[in-house]
């Protein structure tokens, strides 16, 4: 018993020794280099997302530092690996916030990890910008949580507009993944948008993840004779669906979302995918000069690797943060939060970004055509700010001008990327204007 007590006493002493530095009152700007925490999956199953995020942020920070920093202060990145697990993401953010005392956070890609980590950032009042978590729930965690990508429901609207306006489709069929919130959210907004534009939903069929035979659903769809078929699932099933669609002699093109975006899609679907379309964040093939310049700089820095959408979004997230720090005149947590919230018409690589009152980005999406194992840039679709719909691309997305923007900046644009995760049906796609 005596030894038990000694052991307990030792543990207590150890705790006290590590103690002391109590957090609190570090909201005011401490001055000096600006510490920015980056967390992502660098060693888990989705580590390609984490690596792209890291590269994008690193490149942006290096460019800012090379240009003299923000108001003469350098950016210092603290990068942590969360192994793609929500629990680890929460721990890592505690470390970044409390041990490293970062002034702002960038991360994660997978929405579930962002949702798990966000409460720690919110509690410590450290602004967090997620580059590429598209689930609406992420920014609902609190008023210090932002994102620079569009949210899932917006993609549904984008495809509805594209189908009705560009493809002149009148009759659409839907085939969705009944297990995925992401898929369900997308079809809900596709239906709304498509019927509003005068179209008709002629068939609606569901499948489950890991199904391998879709001929039953597709036969039903064929008899409804649609002009287009909306299939907002993940690439594992979509590839097979595309094959079986062609086998059944269905000519209507398939439409999808960023869940299709994976090199594996081609292994499964092959040539059957030609002529289908997806919505995505950006395309490397977008001819806009700013994007092509970004692609060139990125390739030069990272041994010829082309930047995927995740990397471009990460770059934009860092740039939006830098712009906000500049406007806030430092990193006082309250002022910085307000500055991020007031971001309006920031010209990023992935489009003109405005943060709305839900702390989501209002920005354009791109539509890509699938052609011989490549995603080919087709057009850019603007968010709905009043009436504007499609704008055939090359000239990019000129939105009303405004607001400061730092070093590099650009416009809408191009390529591939998956954005992990599912979404709840929560509305608020494009319709909101920048304000706050």
């Amino acid at each position: 018993m005596r030894r038990t007590l000694i052991a307990l006493g030792l543990i207590a002493a150890l705790l006290m020794a590590t103690g002391c530095a109590r957090r609190g009152g570090n909201c005011p700007d401490p001055g000096g280099a600006i510490k920015v925490g980056v967390y992502g999956d660098l060693s888990g199953q989705t580590s390609s997302f984490g690596q792209s995020t890291k590269n994008g942020v690193q490149m942006a920070a290096d460019e800012i530092n090379a240009a003299g920093g923000i108001n003469g202060r350098q950016i210092q990145l603290v990068i942590e690996d969360d192994q793609g697990e929500p629990g680890k993401a929460a721990t890592v953010v505690q470390k970044l916030v409390n041990q490293d005392q970062v002034r702002a956070l960038l991360g994660e890609v997978a929405s579930s990890n962002s949702i798990a980590a966000a409460p720690a950032a919110q509690e410590a009042k450290v602004p967090m910008i997620s580059p590429s978590s598209t689930n609406p729930k992420v920014t609902q965690v609190g008023d210090y949580i932002f994102r620079v990508c569009f949210i899932d429901p917006f993609q549904g609207e984008v495809m509805a507009k594209f189908a009705a306006n560009t493809l002149k489709a009148k009759r659409a069929a839907i085939l969705f993944d009944s297990n995925s919130d992401y898929s369900k959210g997308l079809i809900q907004f596709f239906k709304q948008g498509f019927t509003k534009l005068g179209g008709e939903i002629v068939a609606e069929q569901a499948y489950a993840q890991r199904d391998r035979d879709f001929t039953g659903q597709l036969t039903q769809i064929r008899s409804a004779n649609p002009d287009v078929i909306y299939v907002p699932g993940y690439y594992q099933e979509v590839g097979v669906i595309a094959k079986q669609t062609k086998q059944l002699g269905i000519k209507a093109p398939l439409l999808g979302g960023d869940g299709w975006d994976s090199p594996q899609l081609w292994d499964l679907g092959g040539d059957a995918l030609n002529g289908d379309y997806i919505s995505n964040h950006y395309s490397v093939d977008d001819p806009t000069p700013v994007i092509q310049d970004f692609v060139k700089r990125y390739k030069a820095k990272f041994n010829g690797t082309a930047p995927d959408a995740i990397a471009a979004l990460a770059y934009d997230a860092m740039m939006v943060l830098a712009d906000s720090i500049k406007r806030a005149g430092g990193t006082d947590c309250q002022k910085l939060r307000d500055a991020i919230a007031q971001t309006t018409n920031f010209k990023g690589i992935t489009g003109v970004i405005s943060i709305n009152s839900d702390r989501n980005a209002v920005k354009p999406a791109v539509v890509l055509e699938l052609e011989n194992h490549k995603f080919v840039y087709k057009e850019t679709i603007q968010p709905d700010t009043g009436g504007g719909t499609t704008s055939p691309s090359p000239e990019g997305s000129a939105s009303p001008a405004a607001s400061a923007s730092p070093a590099a900046s650009a416009q809408p644009s191009a390529s591939s990327s998956p954005t992990a995760n599912t979404s709840g049906g929560n509305a608020n796609a494009g319709a909101t204007n920048a304000n706050q």
Binding site: M1, R2, R3, T4, L5, A7, L8, G9, I11, A12, L15, M16, T18, G19, C20, A21, R22, R23, G24, L42, S43, E80, D81, G84, E85, P86, G87, A90, T91, Q94, K95, V97, N98, Q99, S111, S112, I115, A116, A124, N135, K137, N179, S180, D181, N421, T422, S423, G424, G425
Partner: protein, 377 residues
Amino acid sequence: MKFLKRLLVAVVIGLVLYALNLAMSKEGLFGIGVPLYQVDLWKLAGINVILAVSLNLINGFTGQFSIGHVGFMAVGAYSSTFMTVYYTQGLEQSLAGAVGAGVAAAIVFLLVIIVGAIAAAIAGLIVGIPTLRLRGDYLAIATLGFAEIIRIVIVNTNRIGAATGFRGAVDPWPGRVTIPAYTNFLWIGIFDVVTIVIIYNIVNSDTGRALISIREDELAAQAMGVNTTRYKVTAFVISAALAGVAGALYGHWRLPHPADFTFVRSFEIIIMIVLGGMGSITGAVLGALVITFLPELLRQLPGEVYNYRLVIYAALLILIMITRPQGMLGGREIGFNWLKRAQRRPEGDTAVGADKGVPIAERDAPTADHAKEVENR
């Protein structure tokens, strides 16, 4: 006298935990506090201790190889948070009027922890009865399958947040918007102590003797009249209930997410007990602490080395297992003098060599040499 002594120990432990909890709270103890990042790790370590010590009852003392422990943790986490979110708000409010908000929250939390433990125990019973008739590999596969089933059910159940994790009431159903963060270090510490006391008492009772006899030789135990299936199911259910408690504590601290309840986590718990020493309670505690803190310590590595920290981590584990294949403590216990009192030398002990005259619970786990020795006998 004995009772008074125990009461004293309980009071002292309680006070120490209370002080630690204060030190880990946001305000700190006398203005001194543990940094919040380390608080997070200590909480995680505390929950891991419950998981490791409870799994040790099955894997270490009963000799059954279960690799689905995380499934019971998930059942506990989701059933307790489900109750918190959808059914306890009214109760907490009405209690708050009578006894104050803090006590009301504590009562509600205790209730939902019990719900989590019971749900996990029932799951343990349902899985245990058919599968514990299996042996060795078959049991391992069955428990692994169970844990995966639980996870996939969660992923597909909208009311508990499905694949995005459970943060609070899901749309059409009314309830709390977010899961209240009831869990603090005091709760975790108390349940650590409770778990250790429960497992210690079981192991040192006639039930424990029966369990150890099953581990040593199931056929012989059966021949001696031990109802092996019944004892195995009992151990399994108790272990599952404690994992459910760990799940409930976890669920009211971080939001439960199906990605945190994969088989990888099950293996992490197994590594804790193998590393600490199968069949040693203090070994399991030590293993849990090492597995929680080691990877986080390696985060402090500088620059390029950081990228290889998981390699270093794995290498360190291999090194420990090479140098101490029986685990850090083997089958021994440390630090608890009062543990030893009950460990009298078993009667009719036929052990030879190093094990001669050593109480069973203190012996090293059988090694390859030992197996050979038995064969040659």
